[in-house]
């Protein structure tokens, strides 16, 4: 098993930490992982993206020009990454901030209004967890429980109270995705 996913969105949408949590979770499950951010001035105010690879073998390259999946948090990211995904790969699209549908026909697509769903949960900042939940429902490369474990490790003591909210977000994303897939 080797899965490469690119996550992309505006700076501030929690794209980087979403990737880190996935990588952490993979590590907790004994898998090999890498996390690679885009960096530099393009991040300032603009878009941010990172690449996570989860694998049973040591990861040869942290760079992936043909990812198995993309989590797309906004419109510019769709324009930039849709073309890169391998045929048959997965696109998770946050339709709240992406007014365009996927244009390729050879991909599996989960389109959900992650930001709106997060707002419904009470905090737009968990839109990333909604999207991650949706992704994991389709590509269960790690268990959602491991993501929560990772979150417990990552959050400082005074922020541990945010765990339940994040769990709900993961679950809501997963449900929505499953509903779409079965639909």
């Amino acid at each position: 098993m080797r899965l490469a996913v690119i996550m992309a969105g505006f700076g501030g949408q929690g794209v980087m930490s979403m990737g880190q949590l996935l990588a952490y979770a993979g590590m907790f499950e004994g898998k090999e992982v890498t996390w690679l951010p885009s960096y530099g001035p393009e991040m300032r105010g603009g878009t941010a993206n990172c690449t996570v690879i989860v694998s049973d073998e040591p990861v040869a390259s942290p760079v992936e020009t043909k990812p198995d999946a993309c989590i797309i948090m906004n419109r510019p990211s769709l324009d930039r990454f849709e073309g890169a995904v391998v045929p048959g790969g997965l696109l998770v699209i946050n339709t709240s901030l992406c007014d365009k549908p996927a244009s390729r026909g050879d991909l599996r697509v989960v389109a959900l209004p992650a930001t709106d769903l997060a707002a419904e949960l009470g905090d737009v900042r968990v839109a990333n967890m909604v999207a991650l939940g949706a992704f994991l429902a389709v590509e269960p490369v790690v268990q959602a429980a491991s993501v929560v474990d990772a979150l417990k490790k990552a959050l400082p003591a005074h922020r541990q109270n945010l765990i339940p909210l994040n769990e709900r977000a993961l679950a809501l994303g997963a449900e929505t995705a499953r509903a779409q897939l079965t639909a």
Binding site: Y24, M27, E32, T34, P37, G40, P41, A60, P62
Partner: protein
């Protein structure tokens, strides 16, 4: 899990330095290595060390010269343009035999260039980019774990040979996160004392002098011969390389991040039935000639891949010395080659396209 933590390369490197007994860091910000000084600024005071954001890279390397000469394990880090500014200071350290570790998270050049990963400072690092006949030990790690490992080794060899040691990473290696196992911390107080270091005479011994001035040409040459003898010893003892699939007919030579991508391409090439192996220098100087010698007899060709337009390939050609074709593929300026591109080059080599 076994004690693994997920860390950014730059931060893992910094923490590994602290655990290797480094208590003094002198640096100046530059992308893509800012996490190193930032981490050190928080961490060193916790362990009784000192962090200084120097006024420039020049000042930083000369603070390392001061602190290293005073007996401490000291480090600086920067990226390409900043490392160019350190060349005079590194030459001084080499000549005065002051240990210290210099990290270069290489970015696209020349000039101001860009901030994406590159390997185009290989010449500068391996040929003593400053003036004079000197070399520095140079490590080219390929993973965050290996970066952690070579940091300890770097401080050890710096002290052992009283020489500056360079760690040549790249922006990607600094920015990426991977699981790492960190080594046990070393208490700097437990390290062997350095009788040659400036500490104050205490009135108990003659003064020590850290110096690189030799106005008499014969003395200056003698200093150089002393250095060269040391360098020969380093070449004999400290070469490090990895060979994957040593029984191959063809070899890709690559280091650092590029080697990881080459490994993917090699796997694919082998899946297509090509007998291709990987020869990955870990020490860039001393260049692992011995590892090459173990395969040169049977090798039908070498492909050197770099994120530069051809630097390490000269060392490969020097070792191979005409005994097999050596070809080259490179991307530069921050562009990372894909495994597909490399696969194409491998197939060219196998089909006999390799040039000398």
């Amino acid at each position: 899990m076994s004690g693994k933590v997920l860390m950014k390369g730059n931060e893992a490197l910094a923490e590994a330095a602290v655990r290797a007994g480094c208590r003094f860091f002198f640096g100046y910000p530059i992308t893509p290595q800012n996490e190193i000084p930032e981490y050190m600024s928080g961490r060193l005071p916790e362990v009784g060390g000192q962090f200084i954001q120097a006024e420039s890279e020049l000042a930083a390397i000369n603070m390392v010269y001061g602190a290293g000469g005073a007996g401490a394990r000291a480090m600086t880090s920067s990226s390409s343009p900043g490392v160019s500014l350190k060349q005079e200071g590194i030459s001084y350290m080499a000549a005065a035999e002051v240990p210290g570790v210099i990290v270069n998270m290489v970015r696209g050049g020349p000039g101001l260039g860009g901030i994406q990963p590159a390997q185009s400072d290989y010449f500068q690092a391996t040929r003593g980019g400053g003036h004079g006949d000197y070399r520095t030990i140079v490590f080219g790690p390929a993973t965050v774990q290996e970066m952690v490992d070579v940091v300890g080794k770097a401080f050890e060899l710096a002290d052992k040979y009283r020489t500056p040691v360079v760690i040549l990473g790249d922006g990607m290696l600094g920015q990426m996160m991977e699981p790492v196992v960190l080594p046990e911390p070393i208490d700097p107080a437990s390290l062997p004392p350095k009788a040659w270091a400036t500490t104050g005479t205490g009135g108990r011994r003659p003064p020590v002098v850290i110096n690189s001035l030799y106005l008499d040409a014969a003395e200056c040459e003698a200093m150089n011969r002393r250095l060269q003898a040391k360098y020969r010893e380093i070449c004999a003892r400290e070469q490090m390389a990895e060979i994957a699939f040593p029984d191959s007919e063809y070899f890709v030579a690559a280091y650092g991040t590029t080697a990881r991508i080459c490994r993917m391409a090699i796997q694919e090439a082998r899946a297509r039935g090509h007998r291709v192996g990987l020869l990955r220098p870990v020490t860039l100087w001393p260049f692992p000639a011995e590892a090459f010698e173990t395969v040169i007899g049977r090798a039908k060709g070498f492909l050197t891949v770099e994120m530069s337009l051809g630097q390490m390939v000269e060392d490969v050609r020097l070792v191979v010395a005409g005994r097999a074709p050596v070809s080259f593929y490179g991307r530069t300026g921050g562009v990372v080659p894909s495994s597909d591109e490399i696969l194409i080059e491998i197939e060219k080599m196998v089909e006999g396209g390799g040039s000398m």
